[in-house]
Amino acid sequence: MSRYNRILAGGFSLLLFLSLISLFSGAQSLTVKTVISTLINGGDADFIINQYRLPRIFIAVLTGIGLAVSGVLTQGIIRNPLASPDLMGISGGAGLSACTVLLIRPDINISWLPPAALLGGFSAALFIWLLNRWHNPSPARLALAGIAVSAFLTSCINFLLVLHPVEVNSAMIWLTGSLWGRSWDYIWPLLPWLIILVPFSFYLAWSLDLCALGDETAGALGVNTQRLQIMALASAVALASVCVAVCGTISFVGLLAPHLARLLVGSRHKLILPAAALTGALLVLSADTLARNLAPPLELPAGVLTAVLGAPYFIFLLHRYKGW
């Protein structure tokens, strides 16, 4: 088995192991036997296992994959190590529009949230793109513009929630990202998007490697660079948006996962994508498991925990980055 396969296999077993830990731990301690019999036959603990812990594990893994793949695509296209959907304001845009929809129509069917978030995510992306056409972006400038837009959008969410203080707990979800109260109902709106977008991103991976050689070389090697850039960015924005629609702006996963994957498997996109997807899933799942188990029955927002990891790493990146 090659080194790469070993890493993937290792990551996958780690993910399985973590899922088991997450399944077996929580505010209520259940024996291994109870958990297994509940998985098969239901029974007394049916809600806790089958309606609560299990869907959260799935949602954590799915959103982790979505955010990480989105991060890989953004970094690959923009060729900027600081780029990621949350630092670029895409998550903020998606969060703002999902949150607005929920405030206007609290009883809306949740399958409308991903399309609403897509609208917000694409508007934010368009806005950043316009900003960058207006002044020639260096990677650092782009990151700064993204952070500014992101902060602006977050403040808009804040403003909306102050204006309509109907649901304080949804505020926590939109501002910090959390998997609290997320059941199977939220998987169905999320899954179809990921089933289409993740394989599509893998399909784009080959060409992204050529892009790393520079636009001219890539063009000479038969890549329609402009089309590729648009497709990759569009799927990055879409992935990030639908994930945000379900569990809010869980920060830094889109930034962190591609970097960790690159450390492990080098910089070829075909290799990075699966590794980053695994890393993202691991990050969100461990954040949520910790969130549920640090001080039960109190729950913390998972986004706070990813930020605890992500913020120092972001500062480290800024410090290491010499291309100002």
């Binding site: 209520q28 809600f47 609290p106 707990n169 979800i173 109260g181 549920r292 729950e299």
Partner: protein
Amino acid sequence: MTQRSALLFFTLLTVQLSVFNLKAQAAVINHDNGTLRLQNPPSRIVVLAFSFVDALAVAGISPVGIADDGDKNRIITSVRNQIGSWQSVGSRYQPSLEAVAALKPDLIIADSGRHQSIYQDLTRIAPTLMLKNRGVTYQENLQVMLKIAAALDKTEQVKKRLQQHQDLMRDLKKQFNSQATFQFAVISDKGMWLHSPESYAGSVIAELGLKSPLKTGGGEAYLAAGFEQLLKTNPDWLFVGQYTRQTVLDKWQKNPLWKILTVSKSPQLVYVSANVWSLAGGMLAAEQIALELASHILP
């Protein structure tokens, strides 16, 4: 009438009576998310907001679980003394559904202003009442309390206690008879929030016939106030509940303009419990607020 038809008539009558009896036992409660039918009075109740705990205490029933933010002292003593021990089910903002389910409740009472997004999940655990807690006023809360009493099949007991409560309030109102203005506010290191007559404490003050220094009809329960707004409001009595040890009031009191305030010249700045005046919100809390007001105003 033959003997046989008399027997039939009698049987029919008993059947009808027993059906009527069944109907009488089933409590039907309209709540903010629909209608809930309860065949038997519930005994294992989980509540996700403080004012509902107050209502349970009045009905003489102890909840098995409370979203108490992990701090038992959040439940005010007058309520805590009337109920038995309970399990925490996490914070009011994000109660742990797992902890709720683990208690195997037969009724959950949740805050319709705070827990809409988990209503579906809650109904999967147990029959759920969604009632107003966040931003509830004194009068609204009494209605909520009666709904809870109906769900618990304790209407008579609660109504009797309510009568006592209303006598007390009427009695105090007669004695107060003050022209001064009264304001309650919560303070922390981040700022001050004036509770208008639309808020719980504000509506209790209004119920007692005491005046508010705020212009009425704003519709907002909590008004964020800086020092200037406080100067403009200038209440004759200021009751403050502290959320943190250091507050903005410490800073404001050093300001030369502080002396303009009426409360700076008289002992009419009173520190009270934020738990009782702001967080609790229930009939027992209202009595405590009323009695605390009386102890300061009445000679």
